[in-house]
Structures are given as C-alpha cells and as structure tokens.
C-alpha cells in the first residue's frame, strides 16, 4: 500500500477515536464545557496537559529548528520544559486554591478591579490568538504533504477540521480526547526516532544514540555522530552544530521568555483548575512534565539524525551532490507542497545543500520531522503514523486555545463584564461564535505566517511573559500589591513587547538584525525585557498609590495553604 492510502487510514482511524470520545463526553452544562467539573485524575490531567502543551510547534517544528540551528535550538528545549518548574512551584497550587475558572478571573478578583479583568482578557485573547496562528500553519504543513496540495489549501482544510472538533466538545471532551492524542503523538514521535537511532548508531535509545558513534555501513562510520555533524557543517559553510550563532544574551533572553511564558499561558494554567485538590495540582504539573520530557528528550536526537541524513541524501556520502534524476521519492513529494525547492545554479543536474554560495536547495525547517522517516527510508506505516501524530498535536493544542478564546469572550467579557444577564445557553452560543471567528482569523495567519511555526509560537510566550506572569506572581507572593500597580505593569509589559515584535516583524523587517536590537535581544526573547519592565512599573506604581485593602490581603493569605480548597466556581 502506498504512503498516501496508509496515511488516510491511520489519520482517519485516530480521528474516529477522538470524535468518539468527544461525543461520549459531550459537554452538557457550561461547567462541563469549561473545566470538566474538577474531577480529573492527576496522571490523566498531566497527560492531557502534555498534549495540550505539545503543539504543532513542539511536534513538527521544534526538531526541525534544532536541526538547522544546532545548539541555538536548545532555547526551545530548556524554555518549554523549565517553565513547568515555575508553574509547579510558584503558580499551580495557589491558583487551584483560589478556585476560579480562568486567569482573568484570578486577576480581576485578586486586584478587585473590573479594569484589571478586562485587560487580562484582552491579553489572554491576544496570546492565544498568536499561538493558534502558529498551529494552523502546522496543521497546514501536514495536510498539504499528505493530500499533496498547496500549503494554503492544507491550512484551510485543517482549519475546518479544528473548528468542528472544538465546537463539538468542551473541556471535558477535550481532556479525555487529549489523553488519547498524547498517546498517539508520543508513539508517533518515538517510533521513527528509535528506528533511526538503531540504523544510524545501533543504540536503542535515541537519547544516548545521538551522542554515540556512527554504525557500520553508514557514511562516516566509527566517528562520533555529533563530531561528524560539526565537521560536515564546517565543510558546508554552516555554523558548528554544537555551538550555534546566537549571542549569549539572546539565548538567555529567549530561554527566559519561553520559560516564564509557559508559566503565564492561560490555556495551560486553566488545566490546573480541573483537578480536585491543591495537592493534585502540584502532581499534575509534575506528571505533565514527565510526559512532555518523553518527547522533548527525543527531539534533539531526531534533529541531529535528520540533519546528518539530509546532508547524506542530498549531497551524497562523498559530498559531491546527487543527481536530481536519482533524487529519492521524498524530495519530489515535498516539492509538490512548495516546501522544498531545487534550483540548478551551476547547471550540473546535481542537487547540493550548503550554507554558502554553492547551495541549490531551500528546505523549509517545518518539514524535517515529517520528512525524517521518509529520508531514513522507514516503512510506509511509520510515515503515516507521524502524520497522524502531527495532526494530533496540532488539533489538541488548537482546541485548548480556541476554548480559552471562546471562554474569554463569552464568560469573561460578556457574562462578567458587559452582559451579566445572558443565560447559560446564550453564553455557550457566544463561546462558539468566538471560536469560529478565531479560526477564520488564524487561518489567514496560517497562510501568511511571519515566521516558522515555533517562532510564531515563541511570540505568544513573550507576550504571556510580559503581561500575566508578573501580575500573577505578585498577586500570590506580594500581598500588598494593589490594582493600580498590576494594571500599569501589565499594560507597559504587553504594549512594549507587542510593539517591539510588530516593529521588527511587520513594520521594518529589514532592520531585524542583532545590531538594531535592544541589548542584542531578538523579538523572540524580548518578552523577558517586557517582564522586567512590568515588575518595575508595578512596584513603583504600587509604592506611589498605597497597599491593597485588608480584605484582599486576607484573601491572598488564604490561598497560601491547601486546606479548605473547594471545587472551582465561576458564578
């Protein structure tokens, strides 16, 4: 059976499974729609959080970026896992004790201010929206390859599926479906990695395999894989794989923005409201990181293997180039999507990939994970499985994000602010309308993205780091912090970060070089600076306007210990 048929079958089967679960657990009340009535086991919740968390950016894009950026790609690995430590230690247990549905609920109540709530809602929508735009691109990459259509068509098909999928279920449907999706995506990620590791190095574990020596019968046999990769990179005019190009300041800033952003992402935080106890909130965060690590520890090995394989197949074992006529099937398949192109500059009919003027190939980084099993010549069912995993990753995250957007609009904006008298039924309807609008807008951004999937997603983290994180941390650990300080901090943080990103990515992309960046920090890492500004402004304004009222300080005292945590309530 060919790859395309198998892909249809496997993707179709996993879909049937998700929809079956969504229908079985169909949301009946608004409470179910938002937080699954607070009754989800920590291990299950950890797994669902992991699926929610690991988006198309993690599954499809991250290993590809590491593959091309080498050491510089570590920012994603450390950033997206290290944030869970902050989340588990500094946020999850306290927010669970607080017992509200959403992050804007926390901000609004803690800072006793409708204005603070509204600003938080707008930040939540902005962040989730940036994030989901990256996902749509990811779904599009998968569909375009396996339906053999243009990337724009792929994005469109993906968007339609995501929309129906989210509107059918609510959080409860999503929680159990996401458990299934985690299993599919982790399996799909590990199987090809193990196959390739055995083939390249003879190691069963890819995590140790990419540090090992190259197996017999593979180009460069006997050498350490990473040393060979450094050597190849040098010969081809690329940066040394294990060293990278970015400045230390920038690597530091991006890692920090991603970590802190992780802890401030509304669709991740809301997960910790769905467990019955404070203790379970801590455990959920721990389990989530365990399940995430399974994929994140594998990603750098896939990245290294894929890079070696790519160079070997395109340039040939002797680095002289391979004739286009004899190009493997995968090159031609991906050419149809427009994500790989070959331009015979020297007219010798041979393909050549390098970092200098000899280069004749453009390879979109986002295809590396999907193309990897094909490049390594793995069985067709493995290729199909990876496609199913990619769809699972993109779907689960998009669904979670759409939920945050729709909740923010229907619950936080309408019910709590502008139209307190609407019925449950109307609230649910508005939630669905908001989800529809969000899908439409993000489809447009999926077709016209300002960067690779993981980069677009990185902006969402910067925004979260600069807006929510300081407000929540101060809200828990500094009981005297008042509403004026928090509001000023959030506004300064998000406006500064957003302006910096928009300026360098949309207004003046030509100036997007290290010389023009503030303190050498790229737009991906600028959220760190935004966060620092947020903290400083919040503190200064608080000092000028006096302490929070006694009732609020007592409230903060009461969230600092677990005893007496009830179920989450929103009304």
């Amino acid at each position: 059976m060919d790859i395309q048929t198998l892909t249809f079958i496997i993707v179709g089967a996993t879909f049937a499974l998700y929809i079956a679960i969504a229908v079985w657990a169909r949301a009946g009340s608004t409470n179910d729609f938002y937080v699954a009535s607070g009754g989800v086991h920590p291990v299950m919740n950890g797994m669902a959080t992991a699926a929610d968390w690991m988006s198309a950016a993690s599954f499809i894009s991250m290993a590809g970026i590491i593959s091309f950026a080498g050491y510089d790609g570590s920012v994603y690995l450390m950033g997206w896992t290290g944030g869970y430590v902050l989340l588990a230690l500094c946020l999850a247990p306290y927010l669970r004790k607080f017992g509200k549905f959403t992050v804007p609920d926390f901000i609004g109540d803690r800072y006793y201010s409708q204005l603070a709530r509204t600003i938080a809602v707008i930040c939540a929508i902005l962040i989730s929206f940036t994030y989901i735009a990256g996902q749509m691109r990811g779904v599009g990459v998968v569909f375009s390859r396996f339906l053999e259509v243009e990337i724009a068509t792929g994005v469109f098909i993906g968007a339609v599926i995501v929309f129906f999928y989210t509107v059918l279920g609510g959080m409860k449907g999503i929680t159990y479906t996401q458990v299934a999706q985690y299993c599919v995506l982790a399996f799909a990620y590990l199987v090809p990695a193990i196959f390739i590791s055995i083939y390249m190095t003879g190691h069963f574990l890819p995590q140790t395999g990419f540090g090992a020596t190259i197996a017999e019968g593979v180009a460069g046999e006997g050498n350490y894989l990473l040393a060979r990769l450094d050597g190849l990179s040098e010969e081809l005019g690329l940066a040394a794989y294990t060293e990278g190009l970015r400045s230390k300041v920038d690597v530091f800033a991006i890692t920090c923005a991603l970590m802190v952003g992780t802890a401030g992402l509304p669709h991740v935080i809301v997960r910790f409201f769905t467990v019955p106890k404070v203790r379970d909130a801590r455990r959920s965060a721990g389990w989530a990181l365990v399940f995430i690590s399974v994929v994140y520890l594998t990603a750098p090995s896939i990245a290294a293997f894929a890079k070696v394989n790519l160079i070997n197949t395109i340039n040939g074992p002797e680095l002289t180039g391979v004739e286009y006529e004899q190009a493997p099937e995968w090159v031609k398949n991906w050419e149809k999507t427009g994500l790989i192109t070959w331009e015979d500059k020297n007219g010798d009919g041979e393909m050549f990939y390098s970092g200098d003027e000899r280069n004749e190939m453009t390879v979109d980084r986002d295809i590396m994970v999907l193309a990897n099993p094909e490049i390594a010549d793995l069985p067709a069912w493995v290729v199909a499985l990876v496609a199913a995993g990619g769809v699972a990753a993109a779907l689960s995250t998009s669904a979670g994000l759409l939920l945050v957007i729709s909740t923010s609009v229907s619950h936080d904006l309408l019910k709590r602010t502008f139209a307190p008298n609407i019925t449950d039924r109307q609230e649910l309807m508005w939630a669905r309308v908001a989800a529809g609008l969000a899908v439409a807008l993000s489809t447009w951004f999926g077709i016209n993205p300002p960067g690779f999937v993981a980069q677009v997603v990185a902006f969402a983290f910067g925004l979260a780091a600069a807006s929510f994180f300081p407000a929540i941390i101060l809200g828990i650990f500094y009981k005297r912090m008042n509403s004026a300080g928090a509001i000023a901090g959030m506004l300064v943080g998000i406006i500064f970060t957003l302006s910096y990103i928009i300026y360098f990515k949309f207004v003046n992309p030509a100036a997007n070089t290290p010389d023009n960046w503030w303190f050498g920090i790229s737009p991906e890492g600028i959220g760190t600076l935004g966060m620092v500004f947020n903290f400083i402004v919040a503190y200064v304004v608080h000092k000028a306007t006096g302490d929070a009222p006694k009732a609020t300080q007592d409230l903060v005292e009461s969230i600092r210990y677990p005893k007496g945590a009830g179920g989450a309530t929103g009304h």
Binding site: V85, G211, F252, T255, S293
Partner: protein, 88 residues
C-alpha cells in the same frame, strides 16, 4: 484561619518559600548556568560522547527539571502534614 496561630502561619510560609528558593537555585544553575553561561567552558569535557555543556542544554537540564518537581511535591506534602493544613 486554618493555622492555630499567626506564628505557625508565618513559619509555614517561610519554610515553603525556603524550599521553593532552594529548588529554583538548582533550576537556574542547570539551565542558565550550565546550559548557557558556562556552556563553552563545560564543552571541553565529554559525557557519553556529548560535549558536557551541550548535553546540559539539550538533555541534562530537562531531566533535572522533572526531578525538581517531584522533590517539591514530596516535600510540600510533608510540610502540609506538619502544619496540619493538608486537604482531607
């Protein structure tokens, strides 16, 4: 008030903060310390075929993060019991 006295409430919070700060110090050391600031210096050592700094950036820090959270879960459960503020 879940605590028997104001002093106990303060002591609980102090111990909690102390634990969190200790764990965050390790968190900072393995990622920003070993993985970024000291990476070039650590790269002169080899660890199972990896340059050590590179290994911390792409593997070691993640493994440490998981361990940190589970230490936290265990120590906080003990702390909650000690001050009798655990859930029923």
């Amino acid at each position: 008030m879940a605590f028997k006295s104001e002093e106990l409430a303060k002591a609980y919070w102090r111990e909690n903060i102390g634990l969190v700060l200790k764990l965050l110090a390790v968190w900072f050391l393995v990622s920003y310390g070993f993985g970024i600031i000291l990476v070039d210096w650590l790269n002169q050592f080899t660890f199972f075929g990896f340059k050590l700094g590179f290994w911390f950036a792409q593997q070691g820090s993640i493994i440490t993060f998981v361990i940190l959270i589970f230490i936290y879960i265990k120590r906080m459960a003990a702390l909650d019991n000690k001050y009798e503020v655990h859930e029923d």
